[in-house]
């Protein structure tokens, strides 16, 4: 199992557009990716799950995935999370 703990860079957090970009990347990966903030874990392909976690700028989140190219997928997703998509 691959895992990454990241700090969210987008100024408005993981809402609206950054959330769409992220969810799209998860869906395209074909893997089941889980996102954890605090004590809550959701399916990262669920935009409603992502939005309802209320993920803000500078929040720390953890991504986990299983599968053959899990590390590669998480690296791509980490790139999205740690880039300011609102800039």
């Amino acid at each position: 199992m691959a895992e990454r703990t990241l700090t969210v860079a987008s100024a408005h957090g993981l809402h609206a557009r950054p959330a769409s970009l992220f969810v799209q990347a998860v869906a395209n990966s074909g893997l089941t990716v889980e996102l954890t903030k605090g004590d809550k874990t959701i399916n990262a392909a669920s935009i409603l799950g992502v939005i309802s976690l209320g993920i803000n700028h500078n929040d720390e989140i953890t991504l986990t995935a299983e599968g053959e190219n899990a590390d590669e997928v998480l690296d791509q997703l980490a790139e999205i999370i740690t880039t300011d998509q609102d800039a």
């Binding site: 100024a11 869906a27 409603l48």
Partner: protein, 562 residues
């Protein structure tokens, strides 16, 4: 008397016309037990969810821009795997597909509403997707914007992105919503597309199709069934505004000839041509950080010098004010400050971050000074977010040492505004950043939708601080510029000049309106407006007081109808 409703105006538009209401939403699907098998209901639900996602995406592609991003997010909501699981679970409990979809979206909507603020405003998106899926299941038309063949003013509870995206801008004169705040989609898209809009109007839903209203975004007033005099006044104002747009491009000046140079706010060298075309007399704020946001390390001297040379070459002999790298709460630069902070807006940002990384600041100042000397540009350099006299001295001394001819500071912190007389003694000029000054004066995070109503530069407390800087500038003979959203609001621009601003910098798109407004008034009038605004109790009062004074020929409806 003429009844008048009020809400939050978006922008400065004015419109008069007949109302059309958004059709009422679909009735809630009945909770009768399904008459078919759960598997059959699941297939129906899956088909309609997918079809709705595809339809929303198509609308997004047609709309483009910010609307496309919003609609893309909505399409993902229709495709959401967690939602689909919830729908299937409800169907297994004996619900119809319609009812299961309705309940599943409602559960998420309530969750978002309970979170309030920005999240709460996203609830409208969910309601819209839910309605569209249910309509598809029932084989009825999706609720949406009416499309008559005559111009109209649209009244709605709140508009979903799918609605606003396809608005026919030639037909929609204005938008009125009963719900939604200044950060709702209706407000965001109205701003982007320059649609006249007033949001959050209590009582708007009681308006009937065919009623005539006047929508004034400046005051946030909706005048219902206006009198003949009120109708005539609106037509006159609209004609005046249309004529004012034709004022030829030239130097910014008041009616008495007092010059007020109008400059451009720029973040990239790509926008230079547009700024020159719109008549910018120079650059009042060049935000250097946007050149380097993608970088994970500090840009080199040579990389920077090349970019500044291109900038100076576009404005030969003209004033170009370059702001040193500004790592802010809303635009972090990892090579300047990578420490997580509890309150980034109050943290190690602006000049504070540069000072902690002095080699980066030195490189930048040298690059600007070298490029300026080569291009013989009138380059001014200023430090962002300066709080103290000591910081002012630090920056201006360092800049001069490295060859910068004109060094100044930005006034964004109330402490700096209050001590402007001492700060300007050590600085060649000051430039007031009204966005941050408003945020710090009213203690309201400018990125937070739930406190967005505090972010109003018309607030007399903000204006008083601007006035302090203006007075200090006049006493010491130092220029005081404004670079912030406030300068782009034409009437507020006049007030700022009255408070002592000697130049105004704004996004190029705003130059024409501001130039036209400045030409209407003398310096004496501008100073009178400033006094009126300063003596008001609130941003709204200040705006109304100045607006009344600025339109002497038309009686204000709010006064005459009492």
């Amino acid at each position: 008397m003429t009844p008048s409703l009020s809400g939050v105006g978006i922008g400065r538009g004015l419109a008069i016309g007949e109302i059309l209401r958004m059709p009422d939403p679909l009735p809630e699907p009945s909770d009768a037990a399904s008459t078919t098998t759960p598997d059959a209901e699941k297939v129906r639900a899956a088909g309609s969810l997918a079809a709705t996602a595809a339809d929303i995406r198509l609308r997004g592609d047609r709309a483009g821009g910010a609307a496309k991003d919003v609609l893309e997010a909505q399409a993902f909501m229709a495709e959401d795997p967690t939602l689909k699981d919830d729908v299937d679970k409800r169907i297994e409990g004996g619900k119809t597909a319609e009812r299961a979809v309705y309940e599943a979206f409602a559960a998420f909507r309530d969750l978002l509403l309970s979170m309030g603020g920005y999240m709460g405003e996203r609830a409208t998106d969910l309601n819209d997707v839910s309605q569209r899926v249910v309509a598809h299941l029932q084989g009825v038309a999706a609720p949406g914007v009416p499309t008559p063949d005559h111009p109209f003013i649209l009244v709605a509870r709140d508009l979903a992105p799918a609605d606003t995206a396809l608005l026919d801008l030639d037909k929609v004169l204005a938008l009125i919503t009963s719900d939604g705040g200044p950060t709702s989609h209706t407000a965001i898209l109205a701003r982007e597309k320059s649609i006249v809009a007033v949001v959050g109007v209590t009582g708007a839903l009681a308006l009937a199709d065919g009623q005539t209203v006047i929508v004034d975004a400046i005051t946030g007033a909706v005048t219902v069934d206006p009198s003949d005099a009120e109708r005539a006044a609106v037509q006159t104002t609209l004609a005046d505004r249309a004529a004012a747009k034709d004022v030829p491009v030239g130097p910014g000046a008041l009616a008495d000839g007092t010059l007020v140079p109008l400059l451009a706010n720029l973040g990239t060298v790509d926008k230079l041509a547009e700024a020159v075309e719109k008549g910018a007399e120079g650059v009042g704020l060049f935000r250097t950080e946007f050149l380097f946001l993608d970088a994970d390390k500090a840009p080199t001297f040579d990389e920077q010098k090349a970019k500044y040379s291109a900038l100076f070459a576009a404005f030969p002999g003209k004033k170009v004010v370059v702001r040193a790298l500004d790592a802010g709460a809303d635009k972090p630069l990892h090579f300047l400050n990578d420490e997580p902070e509890e309150n980034p807006a109050l943290g190690l940002r602006g000049l504070r971050a540069l000072r902690a990384n002095e080699p980066i600041l030195r490189d930048q100042l040298r690059a600007i000074a070298t490029a300026a000397a080569e291009k013989e540009a009138d380059a001014w350099v200023m430090a962002p977010m300066v709080s103290t006299v000591e910081e002012t001295r630090y920056f201006t001394h360092l800049a001069k040492e490295l060859g910068v001819k004109t060094a100044g500071v930005m006034i964004e912190v109330p402490a700096a505004a209050l001590l402007a007389d001492r700060i300007l003694a050590d600085s060649d000029f000051a430039s007031i950043g009204t966005n941050d000054l408003t945020q710090y004066t009213l203690a309201a995070d400018r990125l937070l939708g739930s406190v967005a109503s505090f972010q109003d530069p018309w607030h007399p407390a903000v204006l008083r601080l601007v006035g302090e800087v203006g007075k200090a500038g006049a006493a010491l003979g130092k220029p005081v510029g404004i670079c912030g959203e406030a300068a782009a609001d034409p009437l507020l621009a006049v007030v700022l000049v009255g408070l002592g601003a000697t130049s105004l910098s704004m996004s190029p798109a705003a130059l024409a309106d501001v130039r036209a407004e400045l030409a209407r008034f003398t310096l004496e009038q501008a100073q009178k407006f400033a006094e009126l605004a300063l003596s008001a109790n609130s941003a709204v009062e200040a705006r109304v007081a100045v607006l009344d004074a600025a339109t002497p020929n038309t009686q204000s409806p709010t006064e005459s109808e009492k």
